[in-house]
């Protein structure tokens, strides 16, 4: 069924891939607003190997969507660099830039807003196919569009080609959005909360489709979500990065982050999430925070931005210096990094 050229087989971190497919290096994105400067993203670094799944997790306002847009090249960072196959995308020109442009695609959160209501599904898919010569002629584009719809499990594809978005459900629209991203045969897809606006009962099948694409086509994913349980499911073989008000506070293998969270914020999140199991969820140990107040993006706390809420807060340390990502005590090099003075102290 699939006719896409599979990219080089996916690689796991630590297996020694020399050049990551995409990497963000100390990326900053500051917005100037009438009320002051907002540091939406403030020094975030991570990379993804070809075919790898990386999850960015955090609450609203943590900068995960901004980071995703920067990774997709839709927003220019105000500091730091984005590398695609080792090259700074800000310096890519002509053919090289086009290779990046097609190599990284974005799937938006809201399938009701991300598809132009005026075009049929077929027309939506045909435009990029024809423009980038992935198909020739209307008949060719239509054939290829049908294949792509099959690929995202919108079957029978012939039923969907001539439909308008308003005739589709949210889940079906999101599949169209994924198919549209696949038209240019990307090697990496930034998926920004792709299932948060889709009904609970069909979320998993959408994720399963995306996981199959990753397996079969070798497409890497940056999966952005606020739901750690979804992150665990989707990134089971990959990595999870946890963000808090513009900074990455913890990143590591998905299994490590979920089973052995190190950063107090990650721990608080994991302990706070209710689970669909009455016994488990009612007997969960809670991490109590010192404050319920979410810091204003206009006036971020000094030092570690989490310090006013952190249960481990230590005066004289946390509010003074900004912690950087480092290996926590007792972990394998490269598999797990935490930005916390106290957790990494004894490492």
């Amino acid at each position: 069924m699939t006719t896409l050229q599979a990219s080089p087989a996916g690689a796991r971190p630590g297996e020694g891939t020399p050049v990551p497919l995409i990497s963000l290096e100390d990326v900053r994105c500051h917005f100037r607003t009438p009320r002051g400067v907002v540091k939406a993203v403030d020094g975030v670094s991570f990379s993804a190997a070809p075919g790898e799944i990386v999850c960015l997790v955090g609450e609203s306002g943590c900068g995960k969507t901004t980071a995703g847009k920067i990774a997709a090249g839709l927003l220019a960072p105000t500091g730091g660099r984005v590398l695609f196959e080792g090259h700074d995308i800000a310096r890519l020109r002509g053919q090289d830039f086009n290779r990046f442009r097609r190599g990284v695609q974005l799937v938006h959160q809201d399938p009701y807003a991300s598809i132009n209501p005026l075009h049929t599904v077929g027309a939506t898919l045909a435009a990029p196919l024809l423009r980038h010569r992935f198909a020739s002629g209307n008949a060719g584009a239509r054939r290829r569009a049908a294949e792509l719809l099959d690929l995202v499990d919108l079957t029978p594809s012939a039923d969907f080609l001539d439909k308008y978005p308003h005739q589709l459900s949210g889940g079906q629209r999101q599949r169209v959005a994924i198919a549209r991203a696949l038209t240019v045969e990307p090697r990496f897809i930034v998926a920004d909360e792709p299932v948060s606006m889709v009904d609970v009962s069909i979320r998993i099948s959408l994720l399963n489709t995306m996981l199959r694409l990753q397996r079969e086509l070798g497409t890497g994913f940056l999966f952005i979500t606020h739901d750690l349980a979804l992150a665990r499911y989707f990134a089971w073989g990959g990595r999870i990065g946890v963000m808090y008000v513009g900074r990455m506070v913890e990143i590591g293998l998905a299994s490590d982050i979920i089973a052995r969270p190190q950063h107090p914020y990650t721990r608080a999140l994991l302990s706070a999430i209710p689970e669909a199991d009455p016994e488990v969820t009612r007997n969960k140990a809670r991490v109590e925070l010192r404050s319920l107040e979410i810091p204003s993006l206009f006036r971020l706390p000094s030092g570690c931005t989490f310090h006013p809420r952190c249960p481990l807060f230590e005066e004289g340390t946390c509010e003074v210096a900004t912690p950087t990502l480092a290996r926590p005590a007792g972990s394998v090099e490269g598999s797990h990094e935490v930005a916390c003075h106290l957790v990494t102290r004894s490492a």
Binding site: F31, R32, P34, R35, A76, T78, G79
Partner: protein, 359 residues
Amino acid sequence: MVAVSPPAPPSDTLAASVALAWYAVRSNYVLQRVVKAIVTVFAVATLTFFLVRLMPGNPIEQYIGQLIAQYGLPYSEARDQAASLFVIDLDQPMYLQYLGYIGKLAQGDLGTSIKSQGVKVTTIIVAFLPWTLFCVGISLIVSFVLGIVLGAVMAYWRGSVVDYGLTMIGSLLHSIPNYLIAMILIIFLGVRWELLPVVKMRGSMSPGIQPGFTLTFVLDVLFHATLPIITYVVTTVGTWMLTMKASTTATLEEDYVSFARAKGLSDGRIRTAYVGRNAILPLFTQFTLSIGFVFGGSVLIESIFVYRGIGQILVSAVSGRDYPVMQGCFLITTVSVVFANLLADLLYGYIDPRVRVGQ
């Protein structure tokens, strides 16, 4: 939002302080409105100056020519006389002339009428502006209040005969130009059915009446203002009705209205504080636009009813080519509108807590 490059090192340059001032203005609602009002008045003053001074065949040269032809004055004398009328010193370079003109304006000197020699433009304005302000002000308020009440009724009873009828009337009134309504009023109420003594109602008050706070005076003023006020109200109320209906209908769908019902609040309280107040908010921005429209319309309405207000003076100044008067009337009309807009804007800021951002 604008993405900025990495924070620049702090500098005390002029550009930086200008930028700072700009942000201060943008973030303060009241300041923003006041600056806008000042800029508008300034722009209009500038426009009138350059129209008078720079247009080909500009009134100053025309007037000088006229003086020479009519009275056989030598050029220099004619020129001096013209310059004094227009508050412009013609010997100075253009930019100084402009500055001088603005300076005189700031002192309230608008020049002297050409037609009524020696009469200060300010005197004319002081005599006629209050009548227009009175008429337009009353009309705006009556029309707004009436439109809001009717619009709310239409929204609550939407789909009923009342709603249907009022919508039809509203659309009809909305579509007929105000001067045509004025003519229709005169034709039917005055001439055909002879219900109103339209000829007697001309002017802003009857001759021989002593101004003062006496009943006779107030009644007489109202008598003369009746037709203009009816015209203004009739021609604007349709818009308010239809807009208020749409706004109320939208507000009725809001969660906080259903929530107010869930809380068991009384219908009266929900209608006023929850639906009414929120539904009126979007009408306020339109209200400011309407001030200018109604004020501008006074030009036509006052001519038709021969009402002695600033609009009629403007028309006669234009047809009589009395440029200083025209210039002054136009300026003062604009300033009135700008000032009324400013008031409405500030009132809006008071009513809607959400616009007071930078407090």
